[in-house]
Amino acid sequence: MGIPLEIAGLLEGYRKKAFKPSEAVDAFLKTIEAVNPGLNAFLEVRADVARSQARALDAKQPTDGLPLFGVPVAIKDNFLVEGWKATAGSRILEGYVSPYTATSVQRLVDAGAVVIGKTNCDEFAMGSSNENSAFGPCRNPWDPARVPGGSSGGSAAAVAAGCAAISLGTDTGGSIRQPASLCGLVGVKPSYGRVSRYGVVAFASSLDQVGPFGLTTWDAARVLEVMAGHDPHDATSSRREVPRYTAGLASATLKGVRIGYAPAWLEGVEPEVRARFDEALAVLRSEGAVLCEVALPHTKYALSTYYLLAPSEASSNLARYDGVHYGLRSKDARSGEEIYTRTRGRGFGPEVKLRIMLGTYALSAGYYDAYYLRANQVRGLISGDFFGAFGKCDCIVSPTSPTTAFKLGEKTDDPLTMYLSDIFTLPVNLAGLPGLSVPCGLDSKGLPVGLQLIGRAFDEQGLFGLASAYERARGKFPLAGEKR
């Protein structure tokens, strides 16, 4: 039998002894070898390490004790995994080898997952197309002329192309959900504080969250239930108990669930995306959900709010890449000052520099009140909008992104247009809420469209239930390559 691509199929195969972890890992490695040269989804693959990890599992019994037994996972290159490189898509971390492992990754490994590679991403997770990677763009398995989305483009492409069963990404303004949408996957941005950020290269600390990509809602739920929960190394991680997200997914229903949507959000959405979204609404309604309109009046300021707050935090978070302690150091620096200016001048790409400058400016004496402080106040209003809306509905839906996958180079000259890719995902990060993207159809070019579900804080369980019920009603979604 062929090796299944989903967690559930893999676990079943191991239980039935149809194949061993080392055989499964070999199959995934073979796929990487075949497709990665065209996709550039992986920045580092350590086949020997993955194989020896898998062989160690061969000797064990697949039990419930290891919920990710023998599951190959791809990790975005802004996570630290001891002994592996961690470039975060940047030249400035070239040569850096992680001295420790991120809590989220450690929990997956402890659950039996096999790290198969580190994936390409926009530099320091800043981007929506993966074109800001210092190591070349990653391509979309559905159409290699197009972007996979970003910033977790490599992690999305890896799963969509069958190079890994699941993958981890980070989402600061949509960096999991938007590529999930563009690559036809389920992608989850959990509530702020749900997953430890320890060991994840920080972009904007108050917005960053770790989350999974999977082919199905069940797979994403399984990964999240393994890695969520308090971490003594992350003071912002929540002490709330983590439910078993996979329990009861099969019987989840849409009946009587109140689902809101904001009509104002739908202006400017690509017609085909709009059509798929409307169809998804129809499916939800036919399954018994009660639809209602919600107003999220301050979310129109989300983009400008985000582009003050995220760069402000980034300007500080990226100060440590100074050429003094680790990573790149300019060899021809003649003074302490030049170590900084030359290393950072050469090590950072243009988008990162742009955001560092924006953030530095917004935090400067005399501008702080007008920019950073005001943006934080607006952030409060946006949270308030959602809080109000959840008084009349249990979940809010929207298209994940206003467009399907666009062509490489199509938006690189115009950052504002590029930023609009995340117009529906940004507000969710600002409010710290959980968001999930689930595929809801293809456009006429055969490119996936994503449906975003937004839940109350820490109601990931509710989101998984709705997404799972919707998935069943929608029917099986094709894999990249199966489409035509």
Binding site: L93, S316, H325, S364
Partner: protein, 481 residues
């Protein structure tokens, strides 16, 4: 500069003290907080600013901060906010220092200091906030190196109002603050190791002026000896420049102890914009009332309270009480001597005049005293019970200090016990009378002034061990017979 010119002006001084907290581990990670380990041996991903590392607040550091706040009568805030202070420096691995800015955990405290004139002065304390220390850059011929052992060590920064008017007040404030922090177990106050560091903001203005002059920030004053010197130098420098008709420039200056001058470090224009903003990796610091009250209950008695108590209980002068409370250990030692000996006045004299002098000469602290408190008390009791004379007691003390032996052992081994046996004393007196027939005759003829001579001779005969009162009495009795 003439006193006349100096008197036209008034200096305005505010102090910022960085006090290192006596915690076992660092402010935001589990690395050991210890001075003197080999370079970069006390480090981890957090304090070296590795990608992805995150800070977690050290609860013990917060407790010690609260103690500092209570010790200066400050208001402890239920909620305070950590903030990032952004600047580039090789010994600052994250490119920012985690500190507190708009919302410090403590405000509105004060310390009362005693001046040499005997006056008391209240110095207002604006705020205390938490901060992590930076590492240390070391420049050697082989190149520049960074030691991150100190990076992330917990500090409190204690900022006064501009309430001091001369270097003596500033010096006394620092001494009192250091004593208070040591009492409270917050900081060891070691200036040489950099555990207690002081920056001074200094300006001058014409006496009676309402507005402040341009202020200069003075850094790098790394010993108590230099605090007053540096401030005096800077005040004179500013007065001279105003007298010359030049404006004082807003600068940061460094104290150069080798040359005894202050020198420009940077001009106002070069000042950093630290771009403070709330630290997103940490939530609001909550100090709940119940916990604060528990910390308050565990607070040791502070120097001022101790001084007042000693003055009231033991009739000590303000000066004596001040000397005896210079450290908690010394005060505890003194109080133990009193409670064992039952003689507060003698205990104070022995500790202040004999013990402290010898310790000082030997370069020792009270904790390392070769004479334990119970032995000093035993010595005092021997004097009080007339077992030995006060003069002999000093000899015994010297021996105790030098050898670490107890009072009993020294007195016994050296045969120094006082002779109060009248038959023994009478024998000595008879011998003296027999040896000095001429003086005996003169005395008996009426020259009673010679009594002292006989007493002295008897003391000599008994190597000073005779009970002087008894000798006086017996000599008179026998001669008058």
């Amino acid at each position: 500069m003439s006193e006349e010119i100096r008197d036209k002006y008034e200096a305005v001084i505010g102090l910022e003290v960085h006090a290192q907290l006596l915690t076992r581990s660092k402010m935001f990670c589990g690395c050991e907080n210890r001075f003197g380990a080999s370079p970069n041996s006390l480090i981890c991903p957090v304090c070296t600013g590795q990608p992805g590392a995150l800070p977690v607040v050290n609860r013990r550091a917060v407790e010690l901060g609260v103690r500092a706040a209570l010790a200066i009568g400050g208001k402890v805030h239920g909620e305070s906010v950590f903030a990032r202070k952004n600047y580039f420096y090789p010994d600052l691995p994250k490119g920012y220092q985690i500190s507190q800015y708009e919302k410090p955990f403590c405000t509105d405290g004060a310390l009362v200091v005693r001046l040499k004139s005997g006056e008391e002065r209240r110095i207002g304390i604006q705020r205390i906030h938490f901060e992590e220390d930076a590492g240390k850059s070391m420049h050697q011929s082989a190149g520049s190196f960074v030691n991150l052992n100190r990076a992330g060590v917990p500090l409190v920064e204690i900022v006064t109002h501009p309430d001091m008017r001369n270097s003596h007040e500033a010096g006394q404030y620092l001494r009192e603050l250091r004593t208070v922090l040591r009492y409270a177990g917050v900081c060891d106050g070691n200036m040489e190791q950099g555990n207690f560091r002081c920056d001074a903001n200094i300006s001058v203005r014409l006496r009676g002026a309402k507005t402040f002059g341009t202020r200069v920030e003075l850094k790098n004053i790394n010993s108590f000896r230099y605090v007053e010197k540096a401030i005096d130098f800077e005040i004179d420098r500013q007065i001279e420049s105003v007298e010359r008709g030049e404006a004082v420039r807003q600068q940061t200056r460094l104290w150069d102890s080798a040359q005894g001058v202050t020198q420009v470090m940077r001009e106002k224009e070069e000042a950093h914009d630290y771009r403070y903003f709330p630290e997103p990796d940490l939530s609001v610091l909550v100090i709940d009332e119940a916990w604060r009250d528990r910390v308050a209950r565990d607070m040791p008695e502070l120097p001022e309270a101790k001084r007042r108590r000693l003055m009231a209980d033991h009739q000590l002068s303000a000066y004596d009480a001040g000397v005896l409370t210079a450290s908690r250990e010394l005060a505890d030692y003194y109080e133990r001597v009193v409670s064992t000996s039952g003689n507060a006045k003698a205990s104070a004299n022995w500790v202040m005049n004999e013990l402290l002098g010898r310790l000082n000469a030997a370069g020792k602290e009270i904790e390392g005293s070769p004479v334990p408190d119970r032995e000093l008390a035993a010595l005092i009791r021997k004097v009080d019970s007339a077992e030995i004379s006060g003069k002999i007691a000093k000899v015994v003390f010297e021996e105790m200090f030098a050898t670490g032996k107890g009072a009993d052992a020294v007195v016994r081994e050296k045969g120094l016990a006082q002779i109060s046996d009248s038959s023994q004393l009478e024998a000595a007196i008879h011998k003296v009378i027999a040896d000095n027939p001429a003086q005996t005759q003169e005395y008996r003829a009426g020259k009673i002034k010679l009594l002292g001579f006989f007493v002295g001779q008897v003391m000599k005969e008994t190597r000073g061990q005779a009970n002087p009162g008894m000798v006086n009495e017996l000599v008179k009795k026998i001669l008058d017979r």
